[in-house]
Symmetry: C2
Subunit: 269 residues, 2 copies
């Protein structure tokens, strides 16, 4: 490796305004429809005039569009990122039908994720219809060590890769239940390997339970995982069935990815 040591505090160097600008963009993205300046200001802890300036900046660069009646939405400049944002890798296409079946059967949010740069990236996310549900956009990042997706993947990764990942990202506590000791985490991975699926019992977010199962590529290496997540209260009773169903779904996906796939399905870590 080149250069100095890796950073300690990522947050230490965050630039305030840029963070806010991203908040504005994500607000527009999540609104779905054009919104008024004031709506944005209201949803974020930012003064109206500041939102105004941020929107001006983003509009000038084409990242934001303004309609004639002063409604804002994401602009055309996003097109220039389509090669990165628009790619639907075969993994996603193959997985979605299976994910939908899981969602229909249990009514809880279903996620598809892969490992990238030592973190879990959500590629797809089918949301539960429950008003109290896990929800996030595709592209969201989560840590490996606390999530069911992460454990499902890590459990079937070579020891060396796991060690490198931990060395790089550590085992930060996200909730009181997060596993923070290296030994305990290794034991958790062993348990996961044995039963074939992973659990996250409020280790990433309090009161949220996830069940995750691994997806294997044509060469037998783990390339991703699917998880079902919901409030602990609802998940408790269906945990066993969900686990079995998730494992079955992932097995089916792995089979579908099969020997035919010449392509490297996804980038691993």
């Amino acid at each position: 490796m080149r250069g100095g040591r890796l950073p300690r505090n990522l947050d230490r160097y965050a630039v305030h305004v840029v963070d806010r600008a991203l908040d504005v963009l994500e607000t527009l993205r999540d609104s779905g429809r054009p919104v008024r300046l004031q709506d944005v200001a209201q949803r974020l802890p930012i003064a109206k005039s500041s939102v105004f300036r941020l929107l001006c900046t983003l509009e000038r660069r084409g990242y934001v569009d303004r309609t004639p009646d002063n409604l804002y939405r994401l602009g055309a400049h996003w097109l220039s990122y389509r090669d990165l944002a628009g790619k639907h890798p075969p993994l996603t296409e193959i997985s979605v039908p299976h994910m939908r079946r899981l969602l229909d059967a249990y009514g809880e949010t279903v996620n598809l994720g892969v490992l990238r740069e030592g973190k879990i990236v959500y590629l797809e996310m089918l949301e539960s219809a429950h008003s109290f549900r896990m929800a996030a956009a595709a592209g969201t990042i989560s840590p490996v060590h606390s999530t069911a997706l992460g454990k499902a993947i890590a459990a079937f990764l070579p020891e060396s890769v796991i060690d490198a990942t931990i060395r790089r990202r550590g085992l930060p506590a996200l909730t009181p239940r997060t596993i923070t000791s290296r030994a305990a985490w290794k034991r958790e991975l062993a348990r996961t390997r044995v039963r074939g699926y992973a659990e996250d019992n409020g280790e990433t977010e309090p009161e949220v339970t996830c069940i995750g199962a691994p997806i294997f590529g044509f060469d037998g290496n783990v390339i991703g995982a699917i998880s079902v997540s919901g409030p602990a209260s609802r998940m408790r009773s269906i945990r066993q069935r969900v686990a079995r169903a998730a494992v079955d779904a992932c097995a089916a996906i792995s089979r579908a990815l099969g020997p035919a796939s010449e392509r490297r399905a996804q980038r691993g870590g």
Copy 2:
């Protein structure tokens, strides 16, 4: 319309840091491959430590990824914008083959654009192989009044829409040759209507000539345009042939777009 009057100076309110952050993102995007912090700093007039902070901020939000050996590239969070960025409207799909034919025939950059919020948005862009060429990313924004794309579209738009656009965007001078008088611009549109294609003779960028032709939707309304652009020196000799070829290509696209239709023709008005 609600709210106060429209803004005078868009630039007046630009937030410096946000602009820089966007510069960094676009640098990563345009690099194509992972790059070092220092490379980014070198390409932009920003100090190394500032680039570092911006990259930290963007990384924390998932918009930037860092490889284990400290190379930066765009991150997974772009996935969350795929619904906006990934859309390939039928217009693009149908147009690209025709555009490629133009590129092959004349060797100059071919653009596809539409009108959105009073500005020209580039949907697709096939780049000339010449080292001296027009080049920009899809999603780029340009003004209507100076570009061949803009004129080709505006010429076939209802007068009221044109007026509204000018009222909204004005006729700012981009080069000494830009048409800045409303009357002159109207005459230019009339000329465009008569001959069926538009020209931009260094009105957007000095020494750059563009030839643009309109694309009509199934209902006969103009929905976009294609242009061929290159240095004035090379364009001079092929202008006539390019114009004819562009008009033919657009006619073919218009036909392919819709069942109905004899489009409102070259000589109409």
